[in-house]
């Protein structure tokens, strides 16, 4: 076996990215087994002042008033910028003076905050004129200590989402420090197949995206992790949850060593303004959509997550669903193999910042269904879908009358155990077309017929056979629709790749010969960590989001 040295923990990105999954797992396991997290604390009184003044302003404002909420956001941005940045405080990209000026203007409307704004102005002005940033000084020292032998160092720039204050989105590593081997990392994708000699987290990671943070801390990306922050930040490093106790295995939690150079705050010790700034956007979005009502009986409500795209739009996507996601192929310029059975898909719950997903830009609802409907109409069988799925109304009525538990019991008698009685509602809705095989479908229909006999009488078997045949035809049209979309999309994407066209926000794609509307490749900016119940008709529906 290769030694640690030849495996090269983070020495060569290209080699590692092309190595196979097993070799990656070998290194990740070794790193994880030997990982230590070092916490470095900085005392800096001006930061304490800024945090205190910000908290006072936050306590004074009325959070039901949109104007005052904007003040709170500006205060939070100013506070977070000054705490998290590793640039000199007078760097113009930080816009710290502009934020202060904006607050100054607000004082007339909310006089209660004038003293605190004054404090902020004084402290920030001093920081800007002194120019020295102690976090930067410590960072440079750290890098100097570890940057022998061309060490590869990751500098984590996503502590509050992609637009982390203090870290302009286009900020490059060499603009922070002109030293080889430093990389600014912002997304989980960027660290999915690489190792580092050191990972530096320049602030409290409490609000960093959980999966990204867990990959960094516990995913074996490095053996050496440093968290660098001000004492006043109340740094909190999340640990993997304890698993239930086991008499068999002595250990239920991994033993990554956290070297405490100072006391770590408790999880509940969090600044309210930080919590509000990180939660308010999503909770307000959820509130806005809480009243979405189904358009029909078949318009079932299912769990959905809101996905925010880089162009400022967003859409609810089904939590159990999967979407076409091609960032791997697009960003790395890999060939899209047209012979593939299907386009690469990703579960909605696994979507993350930087993903590139295919969405419908015009019209609403399921794109594939609409293209398939077009094809059915062209083939002279425009009613096929309605005919094939009419049994869903019967199922829906029976579920309404009898309840899902009763039907599930009846199906159990027929030797059919469903994953949960609630799942029967999915079959009654348009969320899934039908049970996966004929035997299951037949038992379902026989169960229905036993509970609420329909007019089919002795011909129930014939009915089941006819519906199954119709559904097979629908599936075949769906497959043809998928192939039509895939071919058109692959051709267009290959062309974009050849032209080395970047997709930072959205790339509109009109598919020749596909009538159902315009498609687009959308860059994911953030995904709500919580789901909510939404009617099917509201899914995939792009809407503009207004948020500063």
């Amino acid at each position: 076996m290769k030694s640690d040295k030849t495996l090269g923990f983070g020495k060569v990105r290209n080699a590692m990215t092309t190595q196979n999954a097993f070799v990656f797992a070998v290194t990740a396991n070794k790193n994880a087994a030997n990982c230590k997290i070092n916490l470095v604390e900085i005392d800096f009184p001006p930061v304490v002042e800024i945090i205190r003044a910000s908290s006072e302003i936050f306590r004074s404002i009325d959070r039901d008033d949109e104007f005052q909420c904007d003040i709170a956001r500006t205060v939070w941005k100013l506070k977070t910028t000054s705490i998290l940045t590793v640039l000199p405080f007078d760097d113009e990209r930080l816009r710290m003076m502009a934020l202060i000026e904006s607050l100054d203007k607000s004082v007339d409307s909310v006089p209660e905050i004038s003293d605190s704004v004054k404090t902020l102005r004084n402290v920030v002005s001093q920081l800007i004129s002194a120019s020295t940033n102690p976090k930067r000084t410590h960072l440079l020292k750290l890098i100097e200590n570890v940057s022998e032998q061309q060490a590869r160092i990751a500098l984590v720039a996503n502590l509050h989402g992609l637009s982390t204050p203090g870290w302009p989105q286009d900020l490059k590593a060499d603009e922070i420090i002109p030293s080889a081997g430093i990389e600014v990392v912002r997304t989980r994708k960027e660290i999915s197949d690489v190792f580092f000699d050191n990972i530096i987290i320049p602030g409290n990671p409490r609000f960093a995206p959980r999966k990204f943070l867990f990959d960094l801390l516990y995913g074996g990306r490095s053996r050496n992790i440093t968290v660098l922050g001000y004492r006043a930040e109340n740094i909190w490093i999340p640990s993997p949850a304890n698993m239930p106790k086991s008499d068999i295995f002595s250990k239920t939690r991994s033993s990554t060593r956290i070297e405490k150079t100072f006391s770590v705050s408790r999880p509940e010790n969090v600044e309210l303004i930080d919590k509000w700034a990180n939660d308010s956007f999503w909770s307000s979005l959820r509130r806005q959509h809480a009243d979405s009502v189904p358009t029909s009986d078949r318009d079932a409500r299912i769990r959905a997550r809101f996905v925010l795209f880089a162009d400022g739009s967003g859409a609810f996507l089904p939590e159990d669903g999967r979407v076409v996601e091609i960032s791997g192929r697009f960003d790395l310029g890999r060939e899209l193999d047209i012979r593939e059975d299907r386009l690469p898909r990703k579960s909605v719950t696994d979507l993350e910042e930087g993903d590139l997903v295919m969405m419908r830009l015009s019209g609403s609802g399921d794109y594939l269904d609409d293209v398939a409907n077009d094809l059915m109409a062209q083939a002279g069988d425009g009613d096929l879908r309605t005919r094939a799925l009419e049994w869903k109304d019967w199922l829906y009525r029976t579920l309404k009358h009898q309840g899902e538990g009763v039907l599930a019991m009846k199906l159990k008698e027929l030797d059919l155990t469903v994953r949960s009685p609630q799942y029967l509602w999915a079959w009654a809705s348009d969320a899934v077309m039908a049970p996966h095989d004929y035997a299951t479908f037949s038992k379902l229909m026989n169960g229905l017929n036993a509970l609420e006999p329909s007019h089919f009488g002795p011909e129930i078997d014939e009915y089941i056979g006819a519906k199954w045949t119709d559904m097979e035809s629908v599936k075949s049209f769906q497959q043809r629709a998928g192939m039509t979309i895939r071919s058109a999309l692959v051709e267009r994407v290959q062309d974009l790749i050849k032209r080395r066209q970047r997709v930072d926000t959205v790339q509109t794609i009109e598919l020749a010969g596909v009538k159902a509307g315009m498609m687009g490749l959308m860059r994911v900016s953030a995904v709500d960590s919580k789901s909510m119940m939404m009617p099917l008709s509201r899914l995939f529906h792009l809407e503009k989001i207004e948020h500063s």
Binding site: G219, M243, K251, R253, S254, M409
Partner: protein, 342 residues
Amino acid sequence: MVTKNDVHIPTQRLIHPSLAVGGEMFPMPDWASWLIWLGEWMKLQTQNEGRRVAVIRVPCRSTAAAFTVLGVLLAAARIHDDSLDWESLKSLPVGTHVYWRERSPADSGKARAKSGKVIGLSTYGDREFMVVSVDSRSKQGQTTHSFSKVSALSYGITLGSISAKTDAKLSGLNRVLNAMAVDFKPSWLVAPNSECLLLSEKDSFLSDLAGLSIDASDGIPVKFETALAVADSSGHSYGKTKLASPRIAVIPDQWFDVVVLDGAHASQRLTDTAAKSVIAILDRTEYDDEIEQVIGRLSGYRRDEFIQVPDDGVLQPPEQMDAVLFGLPNVQANVSGLASFG
């Protein structure tokens, strides 16, 4: 309370061969050895009362399920009992499609693939026969074939067809079993059922195994995927490992006493399976509140007396991995979707 009984796992006897990636050799890493051991242990325990659920948390999930499944297959090959094959053939529902290979002297002993549908059982004297209507393209009407226990086992009647490709997979598995010094009956290779149900994303699972081989010590490495003898997802071809999507509506676990759940989506199905041994594998990012809730629902029924500690003790997971194992009473899946215990 944990019991010791007749379950014996001679882990030391097995040789863990080297692995090869692109011509480079790697000794079996400790985490992979442990996962193989776990798979073996969980399979061996299926011979006993009760059920067991193991939840494993790893820093990197790539290939972890593959090693676990390999362990299950190694144990299955060792404890295989021919007589149970006959019992399971006899219990096949009427209409079940079965496959076998016939060697005919007239055809120079060459094996020919046959298939048919189970008609039922018949008894002549004190002997039982499984009667199968043989699929045929001939217009001369249907023929039937009555298999005695001996002939059924010698033909190797399976629930999926054994194509040339499947034959190659089984032969690869055979070489791995030999390389690991597993004492097994060759009839296991064509026993009717698959051994392990793996719920995983097919594309990523198979692409993770690409390029990884097991050194079979005869100079020709066996592709890892081959060694797992994965049946095709349509279910038409035979294999020892059945790979299914985590999103499948009904888990087809009636033929499997070990189910491996690979990843968060698959592990959400912990309560949907009644298999005797279940192993859920998650990475650290995947072990979240939802998974904790699923485990919490099960651990409420915890009965650790159904765990059988091997004579030579429990192998502890490596430093970077976490594991929990709990016993459960036997279940009959009930309408609430949760196992009904009793």
